[in-house]
């Protein structure tokens, strides 16, 4: 089903690399380079068609840029490109249908819910592209392997990850004599005092995507490990997990209102924009949207990459990776595109208003696009040092995925916030996680 003709990516990589050396490594993906890039693209993809499916980016301007960017690539290379966008939570259903149908898009995108582990037998081996990119841009972040590799083989190519920092109101903190929060205790203290003044905080205790990320950030900062690095052994039944549950309950009791039980992914954005929130733990899309809907609040909103807990400082990111179905009829063009967009990461980061965080080490050279220019966001340039993904420190395996989609962690925190004992909650939660892992091992 895939293209029988050989893909000469090696030769094009070499010629590009040589050109980089000649042209000077300081030149980023300027238009000169992209023009030459196009000339190096294999002629055989000309006249073919490529279909790709992505998510609807949380920063709408990015999709506008991306669609234009892709069309230009298509014009340059002679490939007829079609780009479809879909809300990321619905992508798994669509992929299940495409897989069952044996047809659909060529190039697909996993966001947050990383399905590499589920579909790897039906995805094209992308080691050539990934290794090439790694060599070219200083290597991949260690965490990137979690989302894109299975058994050490690259079945996906990481694109960006989304980091979820702390957004806080400087004026409100100042009113209680606090400066920039550095630890989870700071956040707890601030919320506790500001709640009385009508400015509580909020983190979702519900069945939504952010709930999975936010509570894991707390957990990892308290030193909780979900599994060991192999992903096989469950380590979540620990003293640290109990501590984090205890802290979560305290944070709720002291600093939040019951409305957080009904929150969805967008509720904390609205909370911030309404002027009520003292701080939220959310991706910077909230930062950007508040700029539009409530400029007064925006003026006072600042960003901290993450706060520390007794177990360290860990920020939970949401990875986005590219993959190609084996049944695709145009694997070469898909690989070409992955190469192309990866070479233009700086432009993409700019277009995303700093939302997209790269996986390639060289892209962290300062100043980074957009983040380097915005004083409030500058600290995010070091985000890669703090980033962990779901399942940490293990990879994002299918059982880890199922734990995520059945919302076990948010449910555990909800139970304690509502008054259940830590013991009962641990027994339930750990039991459920063990059960899921056992089921996956059996098959």
């Amino acid at each position: 089903m895939s293209d029988p003709r050989p893909v000469p990516t090696e030769s094009t990589n070499v010629s590009r690399r040589r050109f980089l050396e000649i042209g000077g490594a300081g030149v980023a993906a300027g238009s000169l380079l992209t023009m030459l890039d196009a000339r190096q693209a294999p002629a055989q993809i000309k006249g073919t068609s490529l279909r790709m499916l992505l998510w609807s980016h949380y920063v709408p301007a990015y999709d506008v840029w991306f669609d234009k960017f892709t069309k230009e690539w298509g014009d340059k290379t002679g490939v007829k490109v079609r780009v479809d966008h879909m809300p990321h939570l619905e992508l798994p259903a669509r992929y299940a249908a495409e897989f069952a149908a044996g047809s659909g898009h060529d190039l697909i995108y996993f966001v947050g819910q990383i399905l590499t582990g589920q579909y790897y037998r039906n995805l094209v081996d992308l080691s050539d592209v990934a290794d090439g990119l790694g060599k070219k841009y200083g290597g991949w972040l260690e965490a990137s392997k979690s989302a894109a590799q299975v058994n050490g083989v690259w079945y996906a190519v990481p694109d960006f990850f989304i980091s979820i920092p702390v957004l806080w109101r400087k004026d409100l903190f100042a009113s209680i004599g606090m400066g920039e929060p550095k630890t989870w205790d700071d956040l707890r203290k601030a919320a506790g005092q500001l709640k009385g003044k009508g400015h509580p905080t909020g983190m979702q205790f519900s069945h939504c995507n952010d709930a999975n990320h936010n509570w894991r950030a707390l957990m990892y900062c308290f030193g909780v490990k979900e599994t060991d690095p192999s992903g096989q052994n469950i380590l979540i039944d620990s003293k640290e997990m109990r501590e984090s549950l205890r802290f979560g309950k305290a944070l709720y009791d002291e600093g939040m209102t019951p409305e957080v039980f009904s929150w969805d992914d967008a509720s904390d954005n609205r909370f911030l924009a309404s002027g009520v929130a003292s701080w939220i733990h959310d991706a910077i899309s909230a930062f950007h949207s508040t700029r539009l809907t409530n400029p007064k609040v925006f003026e006072q909103t600042f960003v901290v990459p993450e706060v520390a807990g007794p177990g360290g400082r860990w920020n939970v990111g949401e990875p986005n990776v590219w993959a190609i179905w084996k049944f695709s009829k145009n694997v070469p063009a898909a690989k070409e595109f992955i190469q192309y967009i990866s070479d233009n990461q700086k432009e993409a980061m700019e277009a995303s208003l700093g939302y997209n965080m790269p996986f390639l080490k060289d892209q962290y050279k300062k100043p980074m696009p957009y983040l380097g220019q915005d004083a409030k966001l500058a600290a995010l340039q070091d985000q890669e040092k703090l980033t962990a993904f779901l399942g940490f420190p293990g990879p994002m395996t299918p059982p880890a995925q199922e734990v995520v989609t059945t919302f076990i962690i948010p449910d555990m925190f909800t139970k304690v916030a509502r008054g259940a004992s830590i013991d009962d909650t641990m027994k339930w939660g750990v039991g459920e996680i063990r059960r899921i892992y056992a089921k996956h091992k059996a098959s």
Binding site: S56, Y58, P60, D63, H85, M86, A93, A97, A266, S274
Partner: protein, 289 residues
């Protein structure tokens, strides 16, 4: 019924009292049904920032009302395409549904067939098979027919849930057609099929219309199938298009969402209501015969 000579004035006041009681009784239902619709309509012409003002009145405007949301709907999304798709899909689904459910309903209502009862129950049982599992093998069917990402895939799939319901509905309608009419036609040399086509169908046209309307509304309820089978923007039906393109992560374009819903829901309600009359008089008429 007792006949009493009533003075005109007290008759009028009786009418007034009757009307008042009815309106009072209807109030809760109207509030229940209409309050959300009214709110949706107002939201559709509100500016985005106006929605997020905590102390503002939801039923009035802090910032000037705007047609921007409708504008956005038609210029920044393929809403026009979506409406056309939805109408076309519903049309074809109704055609398929009528072509299959009318004969089936007639057969089950009129002809005493062995196993008919079980077949009827069997068709009904299909609703218990959950769509969240069905869509996977159906994806295979859709791709075999090469209809993936086209709204025609939905035309093939939607009858799976309109046919059972409409079969029952039409069965009910056909049962109320007096048998003498058919007899008369058959005596005239029509044959069973002729009787069906020439006599029964014309008389049951309220039932046919009702089945069509239900096909329409049932088709507009689906979300999962359209999500799984259609990803190209201009092939989407309204519910899918609105839900996938007017929500970007954590940004809900509430104004346009509400506008999108009302633009398609209200006309259907109006048409529905026009034929509701026929539906009811049709049944009543048939019953009185």
């Amino acid at each position: 019924m007792a006949t009493v000579i009533v003075a005109p004035r007290s008759h009028k006041s009786k009418e007034l009292r009757r009307h008042t009681l009815i309106y009072l009784g209807l109030m809760p239902f109207l509030v229940l049904a209409v309050f959300p619709i009214l709110w949706m309509a107002i939201t559709a012409i509100k500016q985005d920032a106006d929605l997020y003002l905590v102390d503002a009145v939801p039923f009035w405007f802090r910032q000037a009302p705007t047609w921007k949301n409708f504008d956005f709907l038609f210029h920044n999304t393929s809403y026009g395409d979506w409406i056309v798709n939805t109408m076309l899909i519903s049309f074809w689904v109704s055609v398929i549904t009528l072509l299959t459910a009318v004969p089936a309903g007639y057969a089950l209502a009129r002809l005493r067939l062995p196993f008919a009862e079980n077949l009827g129950i069997g068709i009904f049982m299909t609703y218990l098979v959950p769509a969240i599992i069905l869509f996977i093998p159906l994806a295979r069917v859709v791709s075999t027919l090469d209809l993936q990402d086209s709204w025609w895939s939905l035309v093939i799939v939607y009858p799976t849930f309109t046919i059972p319901f409409c079969t029952w509905l039409l069965m009910g309608f056909f049962k109320t057609v007096p048998f003498e009419i058919e007899e008369a036609a058959m005596v005239d040399g029509c044959g069973q099929l002729g009787a069906l086509l020439r006599v029964v169908l014309p008389v049951s046209w309220p039932g046919l219309i009702t089945a069509t309307i239900f096909s329409f509304t049932l088709s507009m309820q689906d979300f999962l199938y359209s999500l799984a089978f259609v990803s190209i923007s201009d092939q989407k039906p309204v519910p899918l298009g609105v839900a996938t393109e007017l929500i970007r992560g954590d940004i809900y374009f509430w104004g346009s969402l509400m506008a999108g819903a009302l633009l398609v829901g209200v006309p259907v309600a109006i048409v529905y209501n026009l034929f509701l009359d026929k539906f009811i008089t049709g049944i009543t008429g048939a019953a009185i015969k």
